[in-house]
Subunit: 345 residues, 4 copies
């Protein structure tokens, strides 16, 4: 690649603090399968952010799809279904992983990328024919969403209240939870989320780790036997230390998890601001580390000579929406270069 | 842990060359999901060892259980079953992962830890009642076996011939393939294995990687659509570079994969030899990096004050078989210390 | 029930010829599990209608959901998905049965209750992101559809051509295949269907049997090992004779399968005609044994005092669409009674 | 078949009372999917035999494998396993149906065809390595067993006590429950069984029905949502009346369920007694409707000219164990004919 890539937020390796920690701890013998002291310390550090009332468990797995598979399939009986937005990652980007564990996904139309209480109610109402329709049982949110939007605390509380009233398990996919929590649009804390959902996960891969996601099982009833599911689905690493060390670093004194996300969001904001200054419109407001400007096709072509990014969709005959993604590793000079190039073309 | 551990071969991190390579490549942007240039180079290096006739594909996943899940479930139709020895890893140490993908495992009694043509024939004969019995379809071997023994080239050829005659898929779990190939008892090459089986995997985790296994799909018919299965089961890493870089190092000029295994086996051989000099017997000959001496219970207790290891089983009223495992990271001075301590007690 | 029911076409038992045949054959010993002579004869009779080129196999199962489960799951590898209309029976009335076998269903908007080549192409186009999206592989049709419409021969040919071009398996759910083939709108024969699809089933339950569906595997490659799937999913009856005898009767000299369907359709046509005479409109043209008139709510209430039927949906503030279903067992005098009552209110 | 068959107890149709009831009720309209009045009456009649404390639910399905699939898979979470004897029907005669729902079966060696508390304890002890081994959670019994033996009340109580102590679900496959309860060796009632197990099923197919098994969910916690599982697995009949009518007859005033079983057992006892009079030994005592005499191979060959039965296994160089199965429909004159033929040869 001679061009600079804004394709995604996982094109680089890990934050250097993580590599340093891996190197320094390398010869210290540890128990395998998540029983290492680093994982214990990472868990303690994460729990410190979840509030005093947290009474659940934390587990580490290698990938986001694995986190979704384990979280969802461990909760559900065979006849139970998931409610998710049509654009949800489990719906369109995990190769049928949830169905492969036996569960139907009931889709709802997204509102600004998000589920709403009204959408959930509608899904319940249209799937109520006992016993001919799979029983809606788990609500899948992602925060940030696939399109980079963020749930407000009020929105989360409303969905949580509804879920508890209707006996639904509330699950939050946090592949980009850092970006959400560090968003200028955000007013929820990780402790808020832990108090409102039954289970969620904290994405490490997109927040500066080499790999790894931390599943936070908030509802103690769901925590029982959880490690079995990780093992059975192939999500348990012999050298669980690899995950423990990384989350220990992300949630250490430097607050790397939030710092990395803040940096990614700041780069996106700068990019958005610069593009707006050029007089261009956007498909959506930039809340996290994804920017969706609408540009003339000729401009898009010119930019692609120096930068890699996705053309999201045709906007009209001679304009397209593009997607630009930033990360903890995006150098500010590449933002400057992009904006300079945009100004030229 | 203040004691030194001979519990397993995954108590430490990674070979320092791997950490160095991860650090050096850290900021080079790469395509995700295994499309990075490191994975391509790793594949080229592994293929160079598989012989000119190899016409399959190589994929990287995060864990051994994942390698088994993906390899087996991608090959089989729903009614097809696996034949494995009772002591096989998929039978007793993967929390029902294979059954969780819908497939029955037919167990056969091991001979020296291994499957034999006779055992396979017996399994076929006792599972032939169409359509009331699941159809035996895939033979699962592991090399080295769970008890550290190694298949000879002749044994592999006989099983391969039988599998082809009977329409069976032959699969080899290579969690400790390095230890097997580096064994003094071994007379097979990786190219031999590639020519005799339909699919196998090369274990990185126990050969000096942080994590990662390379699945080698030898039979081109089984390679079609393979990436879907990895994605669907949650085994695909966004930063696939992490696996590519490690296998690139393991199969580089220094031949780290074999060197690490040879070192582990050498430490085990030294341990076995020293224990034998003390006049103690063994449960089995030491072929790879696992040693199974039979020691008086008092000696076992004394050793456990300074070393961690598993008591495998009671041998008689006052003796036990213990298991000692060495790795690429086992320092020779710990072998010396163990033998010195044994001599004392 | 003191009222007469137009709720469905499975409120009564079986055609009396079937009960007679069961009684007459009762003490003749037969081989179990579908190996009986009645099943063989039924198969011969069905094959006689499938044309000389038919080279597949026929199997009998107890229920329609079972027929769908076995047909679909026996064809697909784990990563492969089904394309179906949103209103398809497998989508909304089988409690997630297909997903429970591990497969995603990709839904398309129905056109007159049906899939179209354009809809299928759109589903392929929006599920093409390898390997992140499940691979579309099987097209699910039902004929008659859930809303009682019928595929024309031209429509079936177009879909079949597309399926073969795109490497898709074409499957037809024939729960109401009799009603479709006996429809005045129909121009396809059972032999046409057998030549155009890979696998379909002939519904016995709604055509006068106590239970039972005949799965016709047209594509010989899909027929291999088929009985295993029926056994494994719990669809094989010890007394398979029960299914064989019934299909032998349905496809005997009296042509009961078509006669029963023709009678059901005729009763529906009479009902529709009489309602139209009253000046009422319809949600859809009546093609088979389902009638969807639009009636004032007051009329609906009055009719419900004497007849059972579903209110399908509100049409406007004071009108509703109702669904009336007839069967082989619907007595003509009940049609007369319904129309008389309608005329009164 | 010109010979008379002792191959199994499902070679004939149904008891004539059942056919008569089906015929008489044929045109009475009923609600579908098990909501018919016959099923309600059958349930009332069965409950009358289960004791006043019974607080569960009863459901009807089409086949024994379906009864096992639904009963087991509805109870278990994905990581939970079944304990069964090696000779169990789910282990060797259901084509991997339980594994196809995702669950491992842990096998124990049978004692007289049965599980024992000691065997269960041993299975628990050897599958206790959390989280690497699937968690033993459900105990599968069948009564009568595959080899025709019967659990005594004491044996059932001991296993039940153990199951409750160890948090295990106790499940009893009653494919031949009639034969067991009607056995001269039996001292348990159906109410005893209902009080000791969590879930069991009453086999109709082998007790004079055309098809059908009644699943009795004793533990109210397991009864919740049960109908979903039946629907999802394809076990729910549109004309559920077919199952309701049959069980209504089996458990009516004539006590057909027990009468049919008693008749089958009496024929087996007569067969066994006659064979014993000829001086022949048996593989096992005859407790139900299966007889396992040991005969010279020449005698076996001669008998096979007139009777069909399975050769179970070679007993020595010139003797074999054969299996003779009787049913409610076995005419006494065929027993006489068999014994006469045996006396001749």
């Amino acid at each position: 690649m001679t061009t600079f890539s804004f394709l995604d937020d996982y094109s680089e390796g890990a934050h250097p603090d993580i590599l340093r920690a891996l190197t320094e701890s390398n010869y210290i013998q540890q128990a395998p399968y998540g029983e290492d002291s680093y994982s214990a310390e990472a868990t303690a550090r994460i729990k410190a952010r979840l509030g005093d009332t947290f009474d659940g468990a934390i587990h580490y797995v290698a990938s986001g799809t694995m986190a979704n598979i384990v979280s969802i399939s461990s909760c559900l009986r065979p006849h139970e279904a998931v409610i998710a937005v049509e654009s949800g990652h489990i719906v369109v980007r995990e190769a049928g992983a949830i169905e492969a564990t036996g569960h139907k996904i009931i889709v709802a139309p997204p509102v600004d990328g998000k589920l709403t209480p009204a959408n959930i109610e509608a899904a319940l109402a249209s799937n109520a024919h006992f016993p001919h329709m799979a029983k809606p049982r788990l609500v899948y949110l992602s925060n940030a969403t696939e399109t980079g939007t963020v749930y407000s605390l009020t929105e989360l509380k409303e969905i949580s209240t509804l879920a508890r009233q209707r006996g639904l398990i509330l699950f939050l996919d946090g592949a980009r939870l850092g970006a959400a929590l560090a968003s200028s649009k955000n007013d929820a804390t990780m402790a808020d989320i832990a108090s409102l959902v039954d289970i969620f996960w904290i994405g490490g891969t997109k927040a500066g780790a080499l790999l790894g996601e931390a599943i936070v099982v908030c509802n103690p009833a769901l925590a029982e036997d959880f490690a079995f599911h990780i093992k059975q689905r192939g999500g348990m690493l012999a050298k669980g230390r690899l995950l423990g060390i990384q989350f220990q670093e992300l949630f250490g004194a430097r607050n790397l998890f939030f710092e990395n996300a803040r940096q990614a969001n700041a780069m996106a904001a700068k990019l958005a601001s610069g593009i707006a200054s050029g007089g261009y419109a956007f498909e959506a407001e930039t809340a996290t580390n994804q920017v969706f400007p609408i540009l003339p096709d000729a401009v898009v072509s010119a930019l692609k000579q120096h930068f890699a990014f996705y053309t999201w969709r045709k906007s009209d005959d001679d304009h397209s929406v593009i997607r630009l993604v930033t990360s903890w590793a995006t150098p500010e000079h590449q933002i400057d270069a992009f904006l300079a190039r945009l100004a030229q073309v």
